[in-house]
């Protein structure tokens, strides 16, 4: 039966993560962005929320609850509301864990999942994006070729978070006509982490380019063994995650602009009392809400086991536009103050602009 009210358990997750976002992430976000560094103590606290471990069954070292995309998006919105760089940092191990959880062989799950969830935050990551305007997860230029029991992987990746510290990578590559994922451990010959990248936004998140020159891995490193993965299905977990993060970022921008407009006076009254400003705020709130509902719906379809590509792609496309529109208007409502870095809205605009290119950078 249709309902838009979170259950008690869902509300508890929202409240807990929101508290962390407001108390921990928000105060540290400015400096993290300026200095391009992640406050590790805050990440450690975020890890203690147990978001990933609660999605992993007990037999693999987690808390034993079923993986739910809906739970994931509820948390992701709050993390995005806190700070996008830290949110993506904290969620990076998901990029490794969720594909293995869904498609890994029994051996792969037993080998990797406990390492990811049993201790403190562990930097495991994935490499999907490639440095090209026409990047397409269905037609990767990174290629895997099988010779007997060995794969040879060659290619060039970009936007790989935490690559410098990562203990293992999930590398996506084209094998014949499909996209498959391969587990490559740190230090494997031919795998080179290049210099740290620099982007317009998410500046506190360390991301790197990656080169794979004739990297040889055993066939047992292919996620899912002979069956492999369904990239479309996995991308849906990324689409809803990013849509939820976008909702969080935009909600933050909307609230900041709203509060500013109520307090800032011009011509003897708060600027929010002008329709030109009030209407912008109304539209921002409507779009944030609509995107949230589309994200919930897509996640719900995923959890039901439906083919959710249509819903997830629509939610993601909608969220991409919404995040840009809302953060941009927040800058506009603050006027000159919106453009200077003392206020967070210009950072949110830089972060918000990125969603259209972030596919594969987060998963729930």
């Amino acid at each position: 039966m249709i309902s838009f009210t979170p259950s008690e358990e869902q509300q508890l997750i929202i409240d807990t993560v929101r508290r962390y976002a407001v108390d921990r992430m928000r105060p540290a976000a400015y400096e993290a962005d300026e200095k391009r560094t992640i406050p590790y103590d805050i990440i450690a606290r975020g890890w203690d929320l147990g978001l990933l471990p609660s999605a992993i069954p007990e037999q693999y070292g987690g808390f034993g609850e079923a993986h739910q995309a809906l739970t994931g998006v509820l948390a992701a919105e709050e993390l995005g509301y806190g700070d996008l760089s830290m949110a993506l940092y904290l969620m990076t191990p998901n990029l490794f864990a969720i594909p293995i959880l869904h498609y890994g062989t029994e051996e792969q799950k037993q080998k990797w999942l406990p390492r990811l969830v049993e201790g403190g935050f562990a930097p495991y990551t994935a490499a999907l994006v490639e440095p090209r305007w026409s990047f397409d997860p269905h037609a990767l230029h990174t290629v895997a070729e099988r010779e007997g029991n060995v794969y040879e992987i060659t290619g060039h990746k970009a936007m790989v978070p935490l690559a410098a510290d990562a203990q293992a990578f999930l590398v996506y590559a084209r094998e014949g006509e499909t996209t498959q994922a391969f587990i490559i451990e740190r230090g494997t010959e031919g795998l080179a982490v290049l210099e740290r990248e620099s982007f317009m936004g998410i500046r506190a998140l360390p991301t790197y380019e990656l080169r794979l020159d004739d990297v040889y891995v055993p066939a047992s490193c292919r996620v899912g063994g002979e069956q492999g993965i369904d990239i479309d299905h996995l991308m849906n977990y990324s689409r809803v995650a990013l849509a939820a993060l976008a909702v969080g970022v935009a909600r933050g921008a909307y609230e900041y602009a709203r509060d500013y407009a109520k307090q800032r006076e011009a011509f003897g009254k708060p600027i929010a009392q002008n329709q030109a400003i009030a209407f912008m705020l109304a539209e921002m709130a409507i779009e944030v809400e609509a995107t949230r509902l589309m994200t919930y719906e897509a996640a719900w379809h995923l959890d039901k086991g439906h083919n959710a590509t249509q819903q997830a792609a629509l939610a993601k496309a909608y969220a991409d536009e919404m995040a840009l529109m809302v953060t941009d208007r927040a800058v506009q409502i603050l006027g000159g103050h919106g453009y200077i870095r003392e206020h967070p809205v210009e950072r949110w605009l830089r972060n918000g602009r990125g969603f259209s290119t972030f596919l594969g950078l987060a998963m729930v």
Partner: protein, 418 residues
Amino acid sequence: MIDFEIPTPIKRQVQFITMLGEQVMRPVARYYDEHETERPWDYINLIWPTIRERGGRSFSIEDGKEKTDKEGKPRPRIGYLMLAHVVEALSWGDAGLYLCTPGGGLGGAAVDATGTPEQKERFLKRFGEGEPKWAAMAMTEPHCGSDTAAIRTTARLSEDGKEWILNGEKIFVTGGLMAAKESRGFVVVWATVDPSAGRAGMKPFVVEAGTPGMTVTKLEHKHGIRVSDTAAIVFNDCRIPYDNILGSPEVVKGDTEHKGFKGAMKTFDATRPLVAASALGIARAALEFTASYLKERGVKVRYGIAPHLQTAVERDLIHMEMQHRAGWLLVLKAVTKMDAGEENALEASMAKVKAGQVATYVTQKAVELLGPEGYSCKLLVEKWMRDARINDIYEGTGQINRLIVARRLLGYTSRELR
């Protein structure tokens, strides 16, 4: 628990109406668009038994009694959720014909929102028996539309205190002809009992069809939804029984936000999501038609492909679809809150803002995508565009609803944010 499962009875109802839309409404849609003064009796007579069977209370769908399931547990109310789906599906068939559907309509909604239990029984019972009937709501006047508090129609008590005497002119009354003249229906007329009291003096009155002093003076010729009559009604010393004032006759001065006017606003909380649903029904018709027309000609939408591989048409279709979905989910949230008995004024206006805009955009884009075919009267696409346009205007323009949303979000009164 967040959930998107639509209850089976609603799915079944939508299936039934879809069939009705395909087999009954669509085939005559063009005819009635071109013959706007004719009444669509074929459709009316066909749908009336279904409406009558449900007590005709198309806007009054819950009787107030607690419903329980087999195990005796309270069953969630789904009345407005059902209604939003019904309105959406009928509008998918044809929005003009949907507006001709006999039953309580907006007038019934006003009775429902503001009437006493006795009044609901007295005024709404008729929709469960006999021949087709309509009820309309008269708010707008020649000099004021969105500014409803400025209405000039007056209601004064007769000397013996037994009757109200109405004087004034109402325009843009949807279904006014059917309600006031051509059936044993009624019109809910908003009038002021105390012009000095502003909004607090505004009260709704039920005027029975055929009451002397109530005259339909004009029928408008419109851009779209042509088969639905839009009437001007003049009240000239129109006398109605004292008991026909809905709710309480008391005027509380100084409390301009909450009395009198509140009734009108409460009505809108119920009707705005339904107007939004109607808008999105038309938009869905245009969207589905355009997508299947193009698909038959080799243009297929591929979801989840890389953006640079999308064609311009694909991008437009995806854009239309996601906008439509966004609007529909806002409608579902607004009616779900209504069913739960929760305050939903914010959600109702949010849904109305979004849906009015989406329906306009989607239908206009559909005409564009189909080129000369879209513009041609051979297809219904151009008609859907004209039909859709009203939804960003009536039941509160997009701008008025933005104002309502903004006031709620910012915590401003109507004085603080004008």
